[in-house]
């Protein structure tokens, strides 16, 4: 590093960091934190945190040294002075050779739990054996009468020294320590941590350049501004690369954002917004859309039927009659109809709506053309939850009803709609039970160089419109919003939208590719 770089580091040092460096300089480039506390008149916390920062900048090294300190507990002290309980029993055995278990407490003055512990160790040290309730001294026990075992030696030493720094103990002390460690409440082991701060070569260079200890200002304060003291202050430079805490701004859900984008497009194009109930009668969801009552989509395996409340009320009788006629024989539309006996009980069943087309149907029944309407809402299909499918998702549907509209207008409106959302669109024939000139819309994905299917459209069939009292053509188009959202957000698992990871929500950019030109 050249002097300029070194000077920059100096400018960025906090006064505490400077003081620690200075302190180290006067102690011969290395010292314990406690020594700095004393010489620089700082508290230990400030010294340690300054040392941490200095180390991270490569100006000092912090050496850490950990030692075990061993001392006696009160109980341990008693044993050290009077002997371990097994030693007390051994002494008695030395006199009598054998003692019945029952009398041992009386004989030695030890309490029941001490006797229990002592017996264990007597056997383990092979000083005695128990034979039919009688304790008998062994030859090893007799030999032990005159010598101290390893653990006893350790206890004696500890009593003498008060505490032992456990660095390089002798083998005897080590076995003794290990034995005592297995017993409860005799010795304490405490970790003793010592630090040593050592100035590095870079640190020495900094010190050579000289550190100015005139106080520098950190936070600009209200006080400084009010009194004008800021004029004479030197503000410390900050390390712009230092860590900072994260800020998490609140955000609307990415799916909401896309729904809003779509709503805006529709409103801009003159479509009025409507909405409806997620629960519908099969009548509004299927029958008035000319879906025959044995249609595959109406089966239990595709549609959620409702157990409570099981049935809905049917609308006005004349509407029901017209729909019934349409199914049975085409009514007055000139259609053949489906030619079966229509059942009003089936039409009364409650379902979770399978599309937002029922909102369109209700709107057409109530309003007079010319009109443009759209609705966004949740719809339900009996799908198991996987990365591809959810049992509920959002759909948007737009309709236009006017005397002179035609299929070219359907394509025109859809083209404009997708254009506003940023996509190029193309069309191919499709099939939906309630439309003719049914058309699938495919959008182009430049990054994948391919067309993907995104939404359906068509003109409502006369069998749909006639019962609703609509006398003009009606064009309709819709799409699933989650699918669009997945494309826009670049995700492949649809569940992320509902069982989201909050980290993902926090990280997702709001700008969404929108920028100033």
């Amino acid at each position: 590093m050249n002097d300029m770089e070194l000077q920059k580091i100096i400018d960025e040092l906090h006064i505490y960091e400077k003081k620690v460096l200075k302190g180290l300089e006067s102690e011969g480039y290395e010292a314990k934190p406690e020594e700095i506390v004393k010489s620089q008149n700082m508290d230990i916390k400030s010294v340690m945190s300054a040392a941490g920062i200095l180390e991270s900048r490569g100006l000092i090294k912090v050496q850490k040294d950990v030692q075990d300190i061993i001392s006696l507990t009160d109980n341990g002290k008693q044993y050290a002075e009077q002997g371990l309980p097994e030693r007390i029993i051994l002494k008695s055995l030395g006199l009598k050779n054998s003692i019945p278990m029952k009398e041992i407490s009386k004989e030695t003055g030890l309490n029941a739990s001490e006797v229990k512990i002592a017996m264990g160790w007597l056997v383990r040290k092979k000083w005695a054996v128990i034979n039919k309730g009688i304790i008998e001294i062994t030859d090893e026990g007799k030999n032990a009468l005159g010598t101290e075992s390893n653990d006893e030696q350790f206890l004696t030493k500890l009593l003498e020294m008060q505490q032992i720094l456990f660095l390089e103990p002798s083998k005897i002390l080590k076995t003794g320590f290990n034995l005592l460690k297995q017993r409860k409440g005799i010795i304490n082991v405490k970790k003793d941590v010592n630090y040593l701060l050592i100035v590095t070569d870079e640190g020495e260079k900094i010190l050579e350049l000289g550190i100015d200890l005139t106080p520098t200002a950190t936070q600009l304060t209200h006080e400084q501004l009010k009194t004008g003291s800021w004029k004479s202050l030197k503000f410390r430079s900050y390390d712009i690369n230092a860590e900072h805490p994260e800020t998490f701004p609140g955000k609307i859900h990415p799916l909401t954002r896309i729904i809003e984008e779509i709503r805006e497009v529709f409103l801009n194009m003159g479509f009025t917004e409507s909405s409806g109930n997620i629960l519908e009668s099969a009548f509004w969801n299927f029958d008035c859309l000319f879906q025959p009552q044995d249609h595959a989509a109406r089966e239990m395996q595709d549609t959620f039927y409702i157990k409570n409340p099981k049935h809905s009320k049917l609308p006005a009788d004349d509407l029901v009659k017209r729909v019934s006629d349409i199914h049975e024989n085409g009514g007055t539309t000139g259609s053949e109809g489906w030619q079966y006996d229509w059942d009003r009980e089936i039409a009364k069943q409650s379902v979770l709506r399978t599309h937002t087309t029922c909102v369109s149907a209700r709107f057409l029944y109530e309003k007079k053309p010319p009109l443009k309407m759209f609705s966004v809402g949740r719809v339900f299909r009996r799908e198991t939850i996987t990365y591809k499918h959810l049992p509920e998702f959002h759909q948007v549907e737009g309709i236009v009803a006017a005397e002179d509209i035609n299929y070219k207008n359907l394509l025109g409106i859809i083209e404009e709609f997708y254009h506003k959302l940023g996509f190029k669109v193309r069309f191919r024939p499709a099939y939906f039970p309630y439309t003719y000139l049914s058309t699938e819309c495919e959008i182009y994905l430049p990054e994948k160089e391919s067309w993907i299917e995104l939404g359906g459209s068509g003109m409502f069939r006369p069998e749909v419109l006639e019962p609703l009292g609509v006398e003009t053509p009606v064009l309709a188009f819709g799409l699933g919003i989650e699918r669009l959202a997945m494309l826009k957000l670049g995700i492949t698992d649809i569940r992320m939208l509902y069982k989201s990871d909050i980290g993902w929500l926090r990280d997702l950019p709001v700008a969404d590719g929108i920028k100033l030109k």
Binding site: P249, G250, I252, H253, T256, R263, L267, N268, G270, T272, E273, S275, I278, L279, A296, M300, F304, I306, K307, N308, P309, S312, K313, P315, G330, T333, G334, E336, G337, L352, P370, K372, S375, F380, T384, E392, N406, Y407, K408, N409, L411, G412, I413, E416, R428, P429, Y431, Y436, L437, E453, P462, E463, P473, Y498, K499, S500, D501, I502, G503, L505
Partner: protein, 560 residues
């Protein structure tokens, strides 16, 4: 929806001409299909339920021939009499009343065609037959049989025969109990004490509809003449199915021979391939499509899609619809066929010239305003499914179960009801994000459903908002401050009362009403109000969701 698999080689063989892969891949979607997958040899394409006549390669090539101008207009399939009869037992009226049948002579089968034929039948069973309930099809080797034939109702143990894919005789009862197909379709017969059976004059069993055929009449690569039987519960559907199969065979050279189906009160000669006649008005077609078309143009387009068409007057065309097309119910369907013949990609998109003024749904505008308040306070919006379950919604929240919307056949025990509250969805979200950094502040705005027998659907949808905050020191004061700020930003005054909401710690929950004030600041109840509650979530609830930090929450309901 049915997916048809075939190789280009086989397609070209049936078509009788070579077209390139690219040509085919371009053309198929434009006749009404969705290509699922293709590679250098094979193509996998989905055809829609309105065109079961496209479920065989023969049917697809018939249409393609029109687009290539190889053959146009109504296909000419002649039917001659075979003189063979099928007598229908009157007892079948309740059981499986309709049967239609015919004979095809001079077919040639190979491995590809046999496989295609099986898939064709299965797709028709599914789409027209509702999994054999409405329609079941059998195709038999005619040359091993002795006409005439009988379709009768018999007792479960009256007959036994060797069913397909087996080698020993079984009674009808045994087939339903032990045979793979028998078990699969037994439910179609379980209401009856007699079963349908088709036999020849020597009592050989052709088929036990709608369950299984006999091994005796199984098709092989050497089969030349076949008998097709279609039985069912819907007269139109059985006829369509028979017509579709017969015409598919005829497309590759089979000759169709009719049979006499003898009911006790009438005899019908089957199949009747007389085309259906409809008219299309050119003015209507021009108006709907928005393109200039002459009568001759329209005739051309219709010929291209294999319909018969003849100019009746300058603005009226008579259209003949082949007996295998189920999709044409109304003039508009003919107009759709004109568009397909024209090719919809050639139609120029054009914006309509109608002026309308748009109004947003006020509830969506409102939702956006309240989102703004929550985001301003640093909350993240989340979305939950409306489908939940009683344990999560009631038990885990320490609530008593009450009347709620229940799904009849849930996809799993996790999704059995529609939510009435948003709080448990937020708790679930926190559970999923247990290991993410704290604090977590989330909210949801959404609809919930309540039972209300006075309404049309027996339910009422309410809008609610709920939020939760979790971190080590989350407490009552914090949530009170958040709630108060939210309510004031709605322009309301909060009026508190103590609440014993079971999801919250006793004594740390408040219920409130947000009330509008008049000009002088007095409460004005006429302007409506909102109500809700807030507090510290009970530790039992927190641990029910396996969470480990304090949680505070509010939930607010908006009335109209």
């Amino acid at each position: 929806m049915p997916v048809i698999n075939f190789s280009y080689e086989y397609f070209n063989q049936v078509l009788g001409r070579k077209i390139t892969k690219d040509q085919l891949i371009d053309m198929l979607p434009m006749i009404g299909s969705d290509i699922e997958h293709y590679d250098d040899e094979l193509v996998k394409v989905e055809f829609f339920p309105n065109r079961p006549d496209h479920y065989s390669v023969e049917g697809i090539t018939r249409t393609v021939k029109g687009f290539l101008k190889m053959e146009e207009g109504l296909p000419d399939y002649t039917v001659s009499k075979s003189g063979i009869s099928m007598t229908v037992d009157p007892e079948l009226r309740e059981l499986r009343p309709y049967t239609v049948c015919c004979i095809i002579e001079g077919i040639s089968l190979d491995e590809n065609r046999l496989k295609g034929l099986m898939e064709f039948q299965e797709n028709l069973h599914w789409v027209l037959g509702r999994d054999r309930k409405k329609v079941a099809i059998g195709i038999h080797n005619l040359d091993v049989l002795k006409p005439p034939f009988t379709y009768k109702a018999v007792k479960p143990d009256e007959y036994s025969f060797v069913a397909l894919e087996t080698s020993h005789k079984m009674t009808l009862q045994e087939i339903l109990e032990d045979h793979k197909k028998g078990k699969k379709y037994a439910h179609l017969l379980d209401k009856f004490d007699k079963y349908p059976l088709i036999t020849d004059s020597e009592d050989n069993v052709l088929s036990m509809p709608p369950i299984i055929n006999g091994e005796l009449t199984k098709l092989t690569e050497n089969t030349v003449n076949v008998l097709i039987d279609v039985t069912g519960t819907d007269e139109r559907a059985v006829n369509f199915a028979l017509n579709i199969i017969a015409c598919s065979f005829a497309e590759t050279g089979g000759s169709i021979k009719s049979m006499d189906v003898i009911y006790n009160d009438r005899t019908v000669e089957i199949p009747d391939l007389t085309p259906k006649k409809m008219c299309v008005n050119i003015v209507n077609a021009r108006k709907i499509l928005g393109i200039e078309l002459s009568a001759d143009d329209v005739v051309d387009m219709l010929h291209r899609v294999r319909l018969g068409a003849e100019k009746e007057s300058n603005d009226k065309i008579a259209v003949l619809i082949p007996a295998y097309r189920i999709d044409i119910l109304h003039e508009v369907d003919i107009i759709e066929n004109i568009a397909i013949g024209y090719c919809i990609r050639k139609i120029k998109a054009e914006l309509p010239e109608i002026a309308t003024v748009a109004y947003p749904d006020i509830s969506k505008t409102f939702e956006n305003r309240i989102r703004e308040i929550m985001i301003g306070m640093g909350f993240y919006e989340v979305m939950s499914l409306m489908l939940t379950n009683e344990k999560q919604h009631y038990v885990n929240m320490r609530l008593d179960e009450d009347d709620h919307v229940m799904v009849a056949q849930p996809i799993s025990q996790d999704r059995t009801m529609i939510r009435k509250s948003l709080l448990n969805g937020l708790m679930e979200f926190l559970e999923d994000n247990k290991h993410e950094e704290l604090p977590q502040k989330i909210f949801e705005v959404g609809d919930v459903a309540y039972i209300d027998s006075n309404t049309e659907t027996g339910t009422v949808i309410l809008k609610k908002i709920a939020c939760t905050v979790t971190h080590s020191n989350a407490n009552f004061t914090e949530i009170k401050s958040i709630t108060d700020s939210f309510v004031s930003n709605l322009g309301l005054k909060m009026k508190l009362e103590p609440s014993n909401h079971p999801s919250f710690i006793k004594g740390r929950c408040a219920a409130f009403k947000g009330i509008y004030g008049d000009i002088e600041g007095n409460e004005d109840n006429n302007k409506g109000f909102v109500k809700g509650f807030f507090g510290e979530i009970d530790p039992e609830v927190i641990t029910n969701f396996e969470l480990e930090y304090p949680i505070i929450a509010f939930e607010i309901e908006f009335n109209d």
